[in-house]
Amino acid sequence: MRANPEVLILEDDAETLEGLQTHFTRKRFHPLAARSASRALSLLENNLYSSRPVLAIVDWDLGKAPDQAASSGDVLSRLARELRECPVIVYSQNIDAFNVRSQIQRSHPRALLHDKRDGDASLLERVDRMLDRTVGDLRIHDGTVVVHLPTLDQHHHREAIRLVVHHPDIVTFHSDTSTKAVRRFGEWLREHDSAVRLVSHGNRKYRLSVTVTAGSTSADETV
């Protein structure tokens, strides 16, 4: 079953937004694109229980947004509170200014900062590095497929991607559908005799654990 992972993109410049959207669509993500913070908040609200973005890219300066009812800080606060496992990249022309960093940090203490002056290519390169991850014998290919490296078999589901992207963190899943998908991924790992296994923490919380053979002991690998 294919279910492409979502990426939230908040960018007030129409041309840049289109460029980012095209990039992620080409990589088989489903972009949740917004030119204003209000639109981004409503996209999050509408998707909160059905699906959750695996990554959020937020432009801090929204001077060209079609409406100014909400700010990028409001979007970051919502992400910090309700989608805390979602990695967030905030970019700004003024990222060097300590007051901008301080405001971003108050809105989302875990947000990663990026300098807009480095250009879109540098941002996309960073995103690709974050999404093309290897955990044990699994690798994310093109951001949308989990590949079992010894067999090159593929598993397509956004919840599997989410678990790999967030390893070693615990990820909370919010619907029966996603929990079922996670369990199917766990079965797939067992069938492939993967070094990675699915660990349940109860209450729809799961994480991946990598078994490292060191003599006779095994331990969770921390990446």
Partner: protein, 202 residues
């Protein structure tokens, strides 16, 4: 956008169990510097202002790992938390009334930032802070507990708090046969000591 909707509260107020550093300043500059000092994944820096510091600290579950400040006063709620919980407390400039006696005080940014960096990278025997929360014993075992996290960050110093505060950390170390225990040092602070040292003292 102003809102009373708790879902729209600022990010620093979001409750979280990840190891946290609360930085209390009037302008946020120190928080930015500390965020650049803390190694990735070791702790989340929460930038607080004097009037919301107690609320920000309250969102760190079960309590903040470290509180860094440069303000001239402290709210009673925050002072009470710092005096009853093992929280690494670092202060820039004159320390306000209400800070615990184990507070480390600094006159300049550089040594303060160095102290934060040292606490984040603290190694006690084979034990070190694991990313997120908990202590890695060096053999793949992860011990979770805010008190133990605090003892590792403070080492070789400790906390001027009652011994009972550290009972669970001591028991966890004993169960894991870590070779370390807690003991009151010459400055009346409870700190980590090697089990051999504790046995010799008895």
């Amino acid at each position: 956008m102003e809102s009373d909707d708790p879902r729209l509260l600022l990010g620093v107020f979001a409750p979280d169990r990840v190891r946290s550093i609360v930085v209390i300043t009037t302008d946020g500059e120190l928080a930015v510097a500390i965020r650049e000092t803390v190694p990735a994944g070791i702790a989340v820096v929460r930038d607080a202002r004097p009037d919301d510091a107690a609320e920000v600290a309250g969102a760190c579950l079960p309590w903040p790992w470290m509180v860094v400040g440069s303000t001239a006063s402290l709210t009673p709620e925050l002072a009470s938390m710092l005096q009853t919980r093992p929280v690494l407390t670092l202060w820039l400039g004159a320390a306000p009334a209400g800070l615990p006696s184990h507070t480390a005080r600094f006159d300049r940014h550089t040594p303060l930032l160095a102290a934060v960096e040292d606490a984040c990278g603290a190694k006690v025997g084979d034990m070190r802070l694991a990313p997120g929360s908990g202590v890695d014993l060096g053999d793949g075992t992860l011990l979770r507990g805010a008190t133990l996290d605090a003892l590792i960050g403070a080492y070789p110093r400790g906390f001027a708090l009652p011994s009972r505060t550290f009972r669970s950390a001591g028991a966890a170390l004993a169960r894991a046969d870590a070779g370390w225990t807690t003991e009151r040092d010459a400055s009346a602070c409870i700190a980590l000591v090697p089990c051999t040292h504790a046995a010799a003292a008895q």
